[in-house]
Symmetry: C2
Subunit: 329 residues, 2 copies
């Protein structure tokens, strides 16, 4: 290792369980051009601890890829940590209160992913209302020539859509759905002064005034099961739920029961409480569209993601203001 | 039959083979409140001819519902016909040159259906690019827990979308896709002075400058197989075709072959050349979304359709200017 090698800043790559970005992106190669990467071993907790204790004094930044938790205990092993660069929009795996206490800055990737996530949410909504996946199943099943009763769907225009979480993703969803003639309202931690859409301080009230709920807020202690049975029965028999946030935003067990009983109109779900397990009762329903947590994965967004991650690390190591810092209050 | 009964204008209902609108809409009841309806028998050509010859002198208007052709021969049986009110967006079943020759006015229903058709086109496009129906199949098939290689889709934003036919439907599609950050261009019979999107005088040139072609033009002698093998190979291996117009706008046999060979990137198809028959080779492809000619069917649009049909008949019989007259040049 020569001197120049040592001059590249050190970055810990945290991705347990092992999670590989698709090879084609050469993410590692691009990071290595500017940083030294520390990949710690995961064979045992002892190994991890001993490895980190050897490097802890020089680790100021880490990249968090994939679903492995960044707990208070783990953070305790990294006393010099100042920055967590998350390669994801959601941060429910990171102990944000501990980061706040320690003054550790956290950046996320919703800037890179917000358009994909919004496209997916709108796609799921059109799909549920207009029954596109069900229609595809109908045609592939050879039923078109033999059955005439393919059910009508519902029109998007004029639907009252309540967006839960009007951040980067929610704002992109609103922009798209406005072009379809939907009437947008929203719920978030607090009303946004620059936004003219009607604001509802709680999700039940939003549901009472919506035909569709779109969930794209962060999963936190406060938003866990924010869509409970009460909210869903308020949304009603013709109500539709779209979830591109996190599975645990919805009380999934209750949702499944309401869908099966016809007490909820439909659902487009990219996320689930116990991924990759999806409640099997949903497989029989034509008013449900199921997607394997892929709302934010396109090659074009990976390109943006890599730029964002590298940019955040560069600006940090050159003491400039960071992009996409997560408000951590 | 009393005098008042005779004062309601007579309208021929032309819907062979029998095609019923869903009962819930009470279309017939609403028409009967204002018009006398003539439902002619379809048991044999002789019966039709004899029936029509008895009523021909009093038939000035007909409603065309469903796919039954209105040929020059049929029109010959109705020498006093002045108006055809079509309950559809497409008019390929009507002999428009003969109508022009005879001075018969033709109205269509694309005003009622344009938003639904546009929603469906956008839904199919998101579905193909982001593989939503394929994802739904993947999850329902129980593959998520066992396979990790669910393929990435493609991002909508930045895609160059070429719209073939920028009428009511095409304009609504453009409005929606602009909100997704797509770059719109179009082809139509002639350039539209009020439109700023780039215009291409032929479809091949449009294909050469597009990632996606969306077909929503009328099917006529000129547009039959407007998307031929040459256009599709020009669109290329990553190119996507969305068709909410008519099946015969595309050379279906060539399209199927190109899709099977991987020479075309994907397709979202609501219409086919020989409905309800769909080429079985398509059933095996994950980059194809199939829909049973349902782009324009929602209850909300039926309501608009009925209003439009009744309004056209009312204005005709009171000698006022008609809505939704089809340019017939």
């Amino acid at each position: 290792m020569d001197t120049q090698e040592n001059e590249r800043p050190l970055v810990l790559v945290h991705c347990l369980p092992p999670f590989k970005l698709p090879r084609q992106f050469e993410f590692e190669e691009r990071l290595l051009a500017q940083f030294r990467l520390l990949d710690h071993p995961f064979d045992s907790l002892e190994q991890t601890q001993s490895f980190l204790s050897r490097h802890a004094e020089s680790i100021r930044a880490l990249i968090s890829v994939g679903p492995s938790p960044i707990s208070a205990e783990f953070l305790h092993l990294l006393p010099r940590l100042e920055l967590i660069v998350a390669a994801s929009a959601g941060l429910d795996r990171v102990d944000l209160p501990e980061c706040r206490r320690r003054g550790i800055i956290v950046t996320n990737a919703s800037l890179a992913f917000c358009e994909d996530a919004a496209d997916c949410a709108v796609g799921l909504l059109i799909d549920v209302l207009r029954r596109i996946s069900a229609a595809d199943r109908f045609v592939r099943g050879g039923l078109w020539p033999v059955k005439e009763d393919y059910p009508l769907g519902f029109k998007l225009g004029g639907k009252r859509v309540g967006i839960v979480g009007l951040g980067h993703i929610g704002s992109e969803i609103a922009k798209r759905l406005a072009a379809f003639g939907c009437n947008i309202a929203y719920n978030s931690r607090k009303q946004k002064p620059s936004v003219t859409f009607p604001f509802y301080a709680n999700v039940r009230e939003l549901a009472a005034n919506s035909d569709v709920l779109v969930l794209c807020c962060a999963l936190t202690g406060e938003t866990h099961h924010i869509v409970n049975k009460d909210v869903m029965t308020t949304l009603g028999k013709e109500g539709v739920i779209i979830n591109v946030g996190r599975g645990a935003l919805i009380d999934e067990k209750e949702m499944v029961q309401l869908l099966v009983q016809g007490e909820l109109g439909g659902a487009g779900l990219d996320v689930f409480e116990k991924e990759p397990d999806v409640p099997k009762e949903l497989f029989a329903l034509d008013n449900v569209v199921l997607s394997p947590h892929r709302a934010v994965l396109t090659p074009e967004s990976f390109e943006l993601l890599m730029e964002l991650v590298i940019n955040n690390l560069e600006t940090f190591f050159s003491n400039k203001p960071l992009l996409s810092v997560v408000s951590n209050k």
